[in-house]
């Protein structure tokens, strides 16, 4: 069991850096329910994610993108194919606490303060109290919520709660961050602002991010690559490289190249929908 955070992430970070690929999927298939009544959620998915890369998964409802995320995170086991995370199986990666996860709902504990919520993963990993506290405060500072450390979740807005959720996911410096439509429940303006904040945080932490979304603009704005998936059974239909320069700002959304890329992704989505 990993107790010393730095030792774990450094050595694995080194391995991943040497390998270049943080996440590798080969011929991954997923069938729910056995026998003739089974539902094929994913079929022969191949995907690579480099360390520190930001990859979005986009596609129509039911295309299996959330399933794919959960497979990577070892919350589900594949029916066929292989996955590796940082050179290990997903299970080993999970036991080694190598990825953080953010859901559409903040999933904060009502009975804990914001600070205690961010500390939760560190508690599970039995990090000593003083180090837990300073770590958590550091992350809260990163997402701009340190003054709210002693508040309770219900006292925060939806967007703020989601930022706490992100801080929690990063508190133990995982190499990989899995995000399942994290901003889906928020309004457009908050969403765009949190997109920018996420990029700030990401540039600081250098985690590989797999980001599931329904929003084309969001996917294009955030990612290095956008993976377009087909409806059930889910397959990788197209991968669009986003060559917009970083760091990206609000103005990036007004650039012609942005619109071109959005149109490209949209075209691919229309193709798979027919």
């Amino acid at each position: 069991m990993a107790n010393r955070l730095d030792a774990v992430s450094d050595s694995d970070g080194a391995a991943a850096a040497a390998d270049g690929r943080a996440i590798m999927l080969r011929s991954v298939s997923m069938v729910f329910g056995g026998g003739s009544g089974g539902v094929q959620a994913l079929q022969n998915v191949d995907l690579d994610v480099r360390s520190g890369e930001f990859v979005s998964l986009i596609g129509p409802s039911g295309c299996g993108k959330s399933t794919l995320l959960r497979l990577i995170g070892d919350l589900l086991q594949p029916s066929a194919g292989t996955l590796s995370v940082n050179g290990k199986t997903p299970r080993q990666a999970r036991l080694g606490r190598e990825y953080g996860i953010v859901f559409q709902q903040p999933v904060l504990y009502d009975w804990r303060t914001v600070l205690a919520n961010v500390q939760l993963p560190l508690e599970v990993m039995q990090v000593p109290a003083a180090e837990r506290r300073s770590r958590a405060l550091e992350l809260l500072r990163l997402v701009g919520l340190e003054e709210f450390a002693d508040r309770y979740p219900w006292q925060l807005s939806g967007g703020m709660q989601q930022r706490v959720s992100i801080a929690r996911a990063l508190s133990f410096r995982p190499a990989v961050l899995l995000m399942d439509e994290p901003f889906g429940a928020l309004d457009e303006m908050t969403r765009e602002r949190l997109n920018r904040e996420l990029l700030n945080v990401w540039s600081d932490t250098h985690t590989a991010i797999v980001f599931v979304t329904h929003s084309i603009a969001e996917a294009v704005f955030l990612s290095d690559r956008v993976v377009v998936m087909s409806p059930r059974p889910g397959r990788v239909e197209a991968i669009v490289s986003i060559d917009l320069p970083r760091p990206r700002a609000a103005e990036t959304r007004d650039e012609p190249r942005f619109f071109e890329l959005v149109a490209t992704v949209r075209r691919h989505l229309r193709e798979v929908d027919e």
Binding site: R70, L75, G96, L120, V124, W154, L178
Partner: protein
């Protein structure tokens, strides 16, 4: 904050006052209508044997509240009323604690697997179909000790609601919260300590509040079967000895009611501390 709390208590206080006044009025009207002036003094004191039987019970049926209050504060009644109440309360609290612990433990056990839950749950439910209070005399004759009987019955009426509610609380967890714990490779014990049990506490307290009053009632009913000490014994003894005891009887009923109410408020106070993170306890907004 204190002013707001007073503002909320005021209507109840006024309503209680109104109730007392109405009671006094009705009791007085009933008394003067049923008992001619010649017998009135005797009907209250019970000292006059010439008062007809049906007039003697008038005060037992509907006593004048101010005389009940007088009986309550009379020091010579303290033993039969207040001390007896404490004896009953002590057993009820002990049984409550035991029953609550067993109930919670049982819920933890049942939460482990569906087959276990399916096996145990019907019995838990069926146990409540048995008029548990009727078990009082049987338990008493089994153990021959009234305190043990009181504690057992109090524990019995406590464990079921605690089990059911705790189980509900332990199980109704957001799947995403569980997925989060899985992603952190949390051990089973950690999931229980950090997620399931804190999440279940509001449900547990809901059950504990109910059990607070029923455990007191259970203890009293055991005493009604024929114990030596306790407020139920006072009720038992004073119901048969005529109007002189009418005020003690009603005083005992008042004390018995107070026991339940006080215990309930105590548990509610503990809840406010343990669950202080709940918005309802923080906001203290009106209504």
């Amino acid at each position: 904050m204190a002013a707001a709390r007073l503002g909320r208590r005021l209507p109840v206080g006024l309503a209680l006052l109104g109730l007392l006044v109405a009671w006094e009025l009705v009791a007085w009207l009933y008394f003067t209508a049923s008992v001619p002036p010649a017998f009135q003094a005797g009907a209250i004191s019970g000292a006059d044997p010439s008062v007809p039987a049906d007039m003697r019970v008038v005060q037992t049926k509907l006593p004048l509240p101010h005389l009940v209050l007088a009986a309550l504060v009379d020091p010579s009644n303290a033993g039969q009323l207040w001390l007896a109440g404490l004896i009953t309360l002590r057993s009820a609290v002990l049984g409550f604690v035991v029953g609550g612990a067993i109930g919670f433990g049982l819920a933890l056990l049942m939460a482990q697997s569906r087959p276990i839950e399916r096996s145990l749950l019907p019995y838990a439910i069926a146990s409540q179909m048995v008029p548990v209070i009727a078990l009082g005399p049987i338990v008493y004759s089994m153990f021959k000790d009234e305190t043990v009987a009181r504690v057992l019955i109090a524990a019995y009426v406590t464990f079921f609601p605690v089990t059911i509610n705790s189980l509900k609380g332990l199980r109704s967890i957001d799947p995403n919260a569980l997925a989060l714990m899985t992603s952190l490779a949390a051990s089973r014990a950690q999931v229980y300590l950090k997620l399931r049990i804190p999440a279940a506490l509001p449900y547990v307290f809901a059950a504990l509040k109910i059990a607070a009053t029923t455990s007191v009632i259970g203890a009293i009913v055991v005493e009604l079967m024929g114990a030596q000490q306790g407020i139920g014994v006072t009720i038992l003894r004073t119901q048969y000895y005529g109007p002189a005891n009418a005020y003690k009887l009603w005083g005992a009923i008042v004390v018995a009611s107070l026991l339940g109410i006080i215990f309930f408020q105590a548990v509610a106070a503990v809840e406010r501390v343990v669950l202080r993170w709940q918005p309802e306890f923080r906001a203290e907004a009106g209504g």
